[in-house]
Symmetry: C2
Subunit: 273 residues, 2 copies
């Protein structure tokens, strides 16, 4: 039997919820090669028929029963999808009954609610946080009065993606400050950061990994030399320790995990968008 | 009975999967006011005890049974959490049994796999896409040979957040091109975009909403006048129509939904990070 398994994420909306939980579920089954495909906005029987055809065809091609992870609110659509012969996993179905019992209320079945319509205020907060992250990236703007947090690290340690992620998903105003050679000459905080001590979070990174990243960016520069990376990282770590700045290594850490740890360490509670 | 319900997203990892599905689930129950809280990295019994205490206390404060949406792989931790008296919803549990039967293999229970460790190549692709989006934002760099797609729109119609989202979550190299006054004098594509016709996607927006966004950004400028917004949007829409560029209105559309529609329209299939 083939170890390749076609997996389809099917939704009447964006399919983001379905893909998020599906991906997490698949990582728990090792030794299989899952070929994943997303079919979004399947919101009428005709699209469902087309989707079912694609799913069936993938099963034949891979000689393995497909797995459909889906979130279709309309049962008629789920029935059509099931005609593909796939294993059907509805990501909401198991929770509706206990929730209805607990709340004493029936679920409202509207299509694609989680990532669909947005109100202006929410959108606005998100976009403003995003603009904030971009204008306060890499020390471009340095007035941090409005910052929810400031990531501090040497160049290329993962500050920018983390700030953008925090802005985009939590509406957090995340600035970042790159430690310069001059900053690293002492083990005290740069003067312009001192007033914001409680907003600071330090990122560090394995020097070999940093070297690899910088080498890709500016090949064979002094900036990308292993010696440079080692001494910068060492000096930054010493500063974080002296100043008791909470610190995390980004070497084997995903952007999601860095963002999560920064928020929980600094006590920032925000709802996810 | 109070309509306020405390909801906790509890996970031994970042809790992103749990919050994503939990949020989608809650949107299906209207008329309740859910007070949500995230407790991440609950990976030992001591942290679970602390979490259970917080959950119990919230239930007492709100005089309503809390709801815990969780993904703890270790059953010992789930048991401790359940002592809080909350309704417990395990987001993976219902799917493990059918998956194990289907695959003829047991789930591997490791902690926080979906958003945890990352390999260098994946991280790299993601960061490169992110850098690409930032350097190709707002027409800064205009060589689009490496672009997977180019969003075209008038200023402030939602290009930047969509590009960053596509980069961060799908590793897509998304550039964006802001239509200038000069571009809008004709209903043909700007010369520099013509070679990339198949990568183009147009965003449009309701002029009133655009006016609102621009007004926030540059109050009382000519740029923020309703007349300016109306004529720019009209000219852009005419161009998209003349040149048969696929178009979407961002007025009532979330960033996730815009990203999803762009990908499915242009036929870009990428796995979510």
């Amino acid at each position: 039997m083939s170890n390749v398994r076609p997996v389809f994420y099917v939704s009447d909306g964006t399919g983001i919820t379905v893909e998020t939980i599906g991906h997490s579920l698949l990582t728990q089954f090792t030794g299989f090669s899952f070929v994943t495909d997303r079919i979004s906005f399947v919101d009428d029987p005709l699209k469902a028929h087309d989707a079912a055809e694609r799913i069936r065809a993938a099963g034949q091609r891979h000689e393995a029963r497909p797995i459909v992870i889906h979130s279709n609110v309309d049962p008629a659509i789920s029935e059509v999808l099931a005609e593909s012969g796939a294993l059907m996993l509805d990501v909401f179905a198991p929770f509706i009954d206990p929730m209805e019992k607990e709340l004493g209320a029936l679920r409202q079945s509207r299509v694609g609610q989680a990532h669909g319509l947005v109100n202006f205020e929410t959108y606005h907060r998100r976009i403003n946080a995003m603009n904030y992250a971009l204008t306060h990236d890499d020390g471009i703007a340095i007035n941090y009065d409005e910052a929810d947090l400031i990531l501090v690290a040497v160049s290329r340690a993962g500050k920018t993606p983390t700030c953008v992620y925090l802005a985009l998903h939590y509406g957090i105003r995340a600035a970042n400050y790159p430690l310069t050679d001059q900053d690293l000459e002492t083990d005290r905080l740069p003067a312009r950061l001192r007033a914001y001590r409680r907003k600071l979070f330090g990122l560090t990174i394995d020097p070999e990994r940093l070297q690899q990243i910088r080498q890709e960016r500016r090949p064979n520069s002094g900036y990308a030399k292993l010696e440079t990376c080692k001494s910068e990282v060492l000096a930054a770590e010493r500063m974080f320790q002296m100043e008791r700045i909470p610190t995390l290594s980004t070497t084997h850490t995903s952007i999601e995990e860095i963002a999560s740890k920064v928020m929980s360490t600094l006590g920032l509670q925000r709802e996810m968008f």
